[in-house]
Symmetry: C2
Subunit: 470 residues, 2 copies
């Protein structure tokens, strides 16, 4: 029997021939990528913000664009790998082992090795941020996976694609629930009070971010050291290992979306304030934070201190993010106001840092023009907007052929006629698998030695040792 | 680093040592199954209801129990294989091709080959029953997959497990949404009016079920013939093929849950009324309907006519099904009343047919005692209850080691401490896959020649030909 008319009428979708999704375009794109890769090797210091990205954003520099997408995807990996399911024993953890994070996510040529997973304790005053299992027997009662430290691998360095050895730090934020914003205490406190090595008590940051970054729970195997201690010891170790190698340059790049963007700014600052971006021989390693939909973090002195230290911050934002255009149903009535606070209505003492790259989702012919708060805040959508951005007032044309279907992973942002299911990212059978007896079980997952490592105990002592002070 | 205390505290779940879930029990079970299989070969006519299951239900006959579970699983396959996702292009279809239905569902030794898929048109007055895609370009605008006709394979017959060649018909009902019940017109009409070959106009059935079974849409490739025509032509073809083979006996078994149970009764009756259960040589093939949570279908004359024709019906029900103990949130205010109508409050003219096997979910130590309407109606839960049932007042002990986790496939019925996620049955990424270009797409699925076949056109003519009349 031949194919029916009804079947014939089903055409492939998501292939408008303009906007850069054709095959011919794909070929040109690959050529361009090859050239850009060559350019990155020569220009990576500018791409990392050496000149505050002057002249690189309008028109949009293609190398900067693809680097912003690449680091954005490293932040996105924190969502894709996170176990949000309250009915999972591993809710709040990373679904994949450290060594297989990128390939488990289908990122086969990341060029990075994950050196450490980062955890934070939920024993702080942000009850709506953390994911908790409904069950009583769980991998950890109070810890949440918060991201990772990765380092570009030898093969990558050899191929010189990046032009240097890159230490990348990625922080997880929140995908859809924005209620955590309402939990922020709207209270700036001196970073020195939370253990930062800052000489000036006038340098202040939002207390919620500080607590998340510096608090610990000595009874918990995953957060007995603070996220701060975890990240600093790892950066220190990697800088010591690679910092003074012949003919090798280093960069430190911190990335994060939403609350993860706040942590990115905080930790980039912290690394520089600690002087960890200096090698034994005194070489200074550039420190850059790329943030996506990130909130304000500290006061004007915080901003100034970051500038003094030479830390570069580029904030990618959707202009429609953070202002309640059409309040989402999922938000409680407090959240939009809290969001407003962070967005524009924060006390004057809060200050954004670094440069901004404002994007507008209404410029993309793929996206619904009117969406709720959390949708406008979506990271995958930002990466899509980056892909189509060529400068102020310029037409939206996808540069890389990056799949627009990714936008709907955890949102309902794509226009309906592209026929991509909303919120399509999910595990088969919620992660249940049949064991050899034919029973459906949640497989055991966490192995501490695969998540931690190398041992933090010794490193942390070094970190706090006086000889480490600048 | 060694395994942490927290991890060690995660024990395996769902293994209470009583209730028949231990390994030793599994071994005994397999021994028992082997014996029962031998018994089935000798007693299959009784198991199919030759003596109206007298003496087989209290105490519960182990062969009858395992057969009821087996046919219940054939009905369950209609849910597990159905595409409910309104954002799928194939919403309302079967997710798997006919030839791979059972193995796609992980049923590797079903012993059956699916001979035909059954479709119905949604152009009838049951708007809440059918699943429809949100998209405009779809596999069919008006058809829904309704089940299948299967026949036990040569290998199976040779091994004599069943003791006969079995033609099995399975009808899909509804898993969770019960709103369709409110759409029933509460209107009995003569089955002869819908094309049944019934001599007596006093034989009546609910008009909604009749329409679903007999309506067609000539503009649709999947429902240009009614479900009735599809099932009758296929049964006729299979009976003609196998009916008069030497040393081979035949059975026709119809199974269905909920609305599928109504269709099972209707089609079992129809097959017998049409005389399709007689071979050319005049041998009579037993016709049996096993229904699970099935509603009343017709009037007292309908029941009597079924009995006259020798069709055997066994209805497995949860006693707590159909009566609003604690109305579910998902139900609109009309549904519980409509459900009550079907359950007990229907006009006296409606009558149940056949024998009943009443089960009680409060007897299972695995299940929450208090649940909403649709949960009490759940088919997987019924199969679990069957597995533990040994007779009135007898202790609940699982017989087969059938995995209780299956209960939560599409419900939240298992007690929390078993730590099985509710509603865990779902496709990875809603069926989206990455194609060779790295794009996420919904793969093409339907192939008419795989779903249909053999050609119905010629068969339908034979069906209506006078020579076919008894």
């Amino acid at each position: 029997m031949s194919t029916t008319d009804e079947e014939a009428s089903i055409s492939t979708r998501l292939e408008p021939e303009s906007y850069g999704l054709t095959t011919a375009e794909d070929i040109r794109r690959r050529d361009r990528e090859a050239k850009e890769s060559k350019r990155l090797r020569d220009t990576w210091r500018k791409i990392q913000g050496e000149d505050d990205w002057a002249g690189l954003m309008d028109p949009m520099d293609p190398v900067l664009r693809s680097e912003l997408i690449r680091y954005g995807e490293m932040a996105q990996a924190c969502y894709d790998a996170f176990d949000f399911d309250p009915f999972s024993r591993y809710c709040g953890s990373c679904r994949f082992t450290r060594r297989h994070l990128f390939d488990s996510l289908g990122i086969l040529d990341s060029g990075y090795e994950v050196a450490r997973y980062l955890y934070a304790t939920s024993n702080i005053n942000l009850p709506n941020f953390f994911s908790k299992s409904r069950w009583s027997k769980v991998w950890s009662k109070n810890a949440n996976w918060m991201g990772y430290v990765a380092v570009s691998d030898d093969d990558e360095a050899r191929r010189c694609r990046l032009g240097r050895r890159d230490i990348a730090i990625a922080w997880r934020g929140t995908v859809t629930r924005l209620e955590w914003i309402a939990d922020l205490k709207d209270f700036l406190k001196p970073v020195s009070g939370n253990g930062f090595r800052c000489p000036d008590p006038a340098v202040k940051a939002e207390s919620g971010f500080l607590d998340l970054y510096t608090d610990k729970d000595t009874s918990c195997n995953f957060s007995k050291f603070s996220a701060r201690e975890q990240v600093l010891t790892e950066v220190k170790r990697l800088v010591e290992r690679y910092g003074d190698e012949e003919e090798e340059e280093l960069s430190i790049t911190v990335t994060g979306h939403s609350l993860g963007g706040a942590l990115a700014v905080l930790s980039a600052y912290d690394v520089a304030e600690m002087g960890l971006n200096r090698t034994r021989k005194g070489k200074v390693i550039p420190v850059t934070a790329f943030t996506y939909g990130g909130p304000r973090v500290g006061n004007i002195r915080f901003k100034e201190r970051i500038e003094e230290l030479g830390v570069k911050v580029l904030r990618v934002v959707n202009e429609h993010d953070v202002v309640a255009k059409s309040p989402g149903l999922f938000l409680n009535e407090r959240a939009p106001q809290a969001l407003m606070k962070l967005a524009g209505g924060l006390p004057w003492c809060y200050s954004h840092v670094g440069e901004i790259l404002p994007l507008d989702h209404q410029k993309s012919p793929f996206l619904k023009p009117t969406v709720d708060l959390s949708t406008a805040h979506n990271l995958e959508a930002l990466l899509h907007l980056l892909d189509g951005y060529h400068g102020k007032g310029k037409r939206f044309v996808l540069s890389s052929g990056r799949d627009p279907a990714l936008v709907n992973k955890a949102s309902d942002f794509l226009k309906d006629h592209f026929m991509v299911p909303p919120y399509w990212r999910q595990d088969a059978n919620k992660g249940m698998v049949r064991n050899t007896d034919g029973r459906w079980i949640q497989p055991d997952r966490i192995r501490a030695d695969d998540h931690h490592a190398p041992d933090i105990h010794q490193l942390i002592t070094q970190l706090h040792h006086p000889s480490n002070l600048l």
